[in-house]
Amino acid sequence: MFELSVACKYLIPRWRQLSVSIISLVSILVIALVVWLIVVFFSVKDGLENSWVDKIVALTAPIRVSPTDQYYHSYYYLIDSISANSDYSLKNIGEKLTSSLSDPYDPTNDEEVPPYWSKPLLNTHGELIDLTKQVALKTTLLTTPKNLKISDYATTMANVRLNLLRYTPGSSNPSQKIMDHAAYIGSFDNDTPVLAKALLPLSPVDFTNLLHMQYVAPDSFSEDNQDGKKQLNPQELQQHLQNFFNSIEIISLKTPSMGWRLPANLIPANAEYDVAILIKTEKPVRLYIPIEANGLPSLLSKLSADGLQVINGKLKIKGHIPFIEFNAQPPIALESWIPFMLEGDAQFDAQLLDNSIATSTKANDLLFKITSKIQGTLLNGDFPLGRLEISEAKIKEGASAQHFATTTPNKSAIVFPEHSQAIDTILLPRSFKDAGALVGDQGYISYYSPTPSNVQEQRLPVVVAGFYDPGIMPLGGKYILAPRELISLIRSSYEGNDVLAGNGINIRFDNLKDAQKIKAELLKALENDGIASYWKIQTYQEYEFTKDLIQQLHSEKNLFSVISLVIIIVACSNIISMLIILVNDKKLEIGILRSMGASSGSIAIIFGICGMVMGTIGSLIGIFTAMLTLRYINELVAFIGQLQGHDLFNPVFYGNTLPSELSVEALTFVVITTAFISLLAGVVPAVKASMLRPSAILRAE
């Protein structure tokens, strides 16, 4: 095609057409820059939005079916309250789903059905329609969803009170703080991969706290003023510790940051250390040992800065007797009371001595075989945990979660501690961790239960099994996850008076985009059965607490799309000026081509191609650099953060890493818009070129 070959000739930069070449280059670079910006921005934004929505859906479900008022006033719901088969108590959705009897009413034994109740809804065989089971059945018959899962959910509100016992090194009794929060408590499906990914891993501080809490009896705090002093009997304690060490292996310990007194028995015979010697009244009273010999000068300056009189010297052990050398004097034997302080954050490889479990009455008693290198000299021995802290621990493979929540190895589901009679386990949102709570902390959930005469406070002991990241879900910071049994118990205190309407059926499936379609399909199925008025079907975009957020995300997307379009138009408008200069530059050639029979359409196509090729090259460069940027986005953000001295993005909102997946939607948008707008930009100069009269050009030349 001759138009293409001529256009390509025009686009090759030439020294003779320096101004055109420079303008072309700038136009292409501007387009590349804009495309880069849009692709990176939309990819990160789409990634973030998807992860936010995923988390919201993980904590709820893509579709929820909840009972309407009509359900709560139906014969089907109320009948349990007068039936002996149901123990005269109302059933929640979960119980209705698993109950063997759809109509528990026995007219011969149970009291008469009140006349003002609505009539029972019967099927063609004259049997009561089981409203909940019918919804579940209809859901399983849906054709659209892939990987369909149905479960009941329950949400309630209660007060959570945690007693934070903290064992500070050096003091024999733990300090105690109270954390008191009103919170939503919701059930969760532990086989949700997004929720499993949102579970925060245990930190060394969590492991230390868990270890200490093994010595505290479960349910120590539900009575006030107990300070966790309810004692475990020795057998129980042994069992606790055995369970703990069956599932957790402590790998290394570290010294506290304020320093640690090195026991003399750990120091091997004939060892030598560079030390800082604290002098008082011209006598050495304390030795500071840096972990590395080359750390001595900075240690000396640090201690001097604190106003201490220190000098450098050498500690030499001869036999088992310590000597010091300083000020070029002969060695002096040290008095035994003088302490050797090991500076902070020294790491020890640690291995628990199993027999110490039997004799331990508090965590500090546990004996470890510790090994470390101080100034190149190996140091090892058996030593109690004491003031040392856990620096690294791991969950043993195949261990059942006894005290904490963990995930399956492929992170597809949460492994939740088994339900224990003594204490319930809960998962707290990240905000509690930021406020100082740790895994293993105990406390209780309190709620008020009406009795015939008064309203009584009920307390359910709980232990923190883990923390999860709720993303940006509204109220996510107050949304505690707990087992269904616990929520059912709290809800039973105000059954029939459900202000939260926090009970229903979760419908989960793989593709979120199918939500509206599935909702419509299910609604039609329920309408056909005549039970649609008993149920409210909502997709994740319609929940009260997500509606505004999701609408906000949509309107932001629309706004940013319009802004991007404007930026692309501005960037592509450079092409117009470049092409007009090119047309002026190539006037004579246009005349020659016309004289040889090129039509005005062909001339227009040549310049149209020039515009489109420039737009396409610019967008290709932009896309390539955007892909490169996305690949290294976290390194880039970390680097810029380092330069600025603070985090660029708040991890609470944006997560620990930014999403780096290229957004196909953004890519398609940019490629199509850029090509189209650059073609449009080419039209004006192309029409101008095609309108030139060959006779005028050739005569002028």
């Binding site: 001759f2 081509l593 004289s595 040889m596 029979g597 090129a598 039509s599 050739l698 005569r699």
Partner: protein
């Protein structure tokens, strides 16, 4: 085969300019050119020789009158095709396309006519043959910027013949060349016209070139008068 139509028939051609005052440069020009004829149009500068040639070559529109080329009446819609297939232009300032080689320049009309220009294609072979005939076979891959004036005009002649047109229109083909080179170009042009049985219309001041043509016309005061003196 001899075509029954004259190759060019211009009837009552008029052309006026309005800038800044109305000037009627051609009053009523009638011209019929038969196939294989060679024709020189002469006249003083400013008489409108080049304008007439452009009108005859469909590059410019007459204000009045009609034009037929090879029996086809010229309209806005078939001009480009007629120019590509039936006409070949040679200009005083050569008007070669820079940034292209000699061969690429010669092949350009074929490209515009959507013919294949791949090596060994008929158009390519014809272009090579034309290059040999104008004596520039060894310059085929030269950039046209590097050629001398005479060489450039020879390339322009070869280019005009690329699509084997019936009518060649030359506007002062030797106007920018020295005497010796001009003579060579005149000879080449006339030889080509005779050899390939082409019709040639040439606008020139050059008496020698005019003498080489079968017919000579004078454009004077807007009238085209055949010169039968010599």
């Amino acid at each position: 085969m001899t075509n029954q139509y004259p190759i060019l028939k211009a009837t009552k051609i008029q052309k006026s300019f309005y800038n800044p005052v109305h000037i009627n440069i051609f009053k009523e020009i009638n011209l019929t050119v038969v196939r294989g004829d060679t024709l020189a149009i002469m006249g003083r500068s400013g008489e409108g020789k080049s304008t007439l040639l452009q009108i005859l070559g469909t590059l410019d529109n007459p204000c009045e009158g009609s034009l037929e080329i090879d029996g086809i009446s010229i309209s806005q819609f078939n001009k480009s095709e007629i120019r590509n297939k039936k006409l070949g232009f040679i200009f005083q300032s050569f008007h070669l396309m820079e940034d292209y080689t000699t061969l690429e320049n010669i092949l350009m009309p074929a490209k515009i006519g959507r013919q294949s220009t791949a090596p060994n294609s008929p158009a390519y072979q014809r272009a090579c043959h034309l290059l040999e005939q104008v004596g520039l076979a060894d310059r085929r891959h030269f950039n046209t910027k590097l050629l001398s004036g005479g060489e450039k005009q020879r390339v322009a002649i070869a280019r005009a013949l690329c699509n084997d047109p019936d009518l060649i229109l030359a506007d002062e083909p030797s106007g920018n060349l020295d005497r010796q080179t001009s003579e060579q170009i005149h000879e080449l042009l006339l030889n080509f016209a005779h050899q390939h049985k082409k019709t040639l219309i040439v606008v020139t001041h050059n008496q020698e070139l005019a003498q080489l043509c079968n017919r000579r016309y004078q454009l004077s005061n807007g009238m085209l008068i055949e010169d039968t003196d010599s």
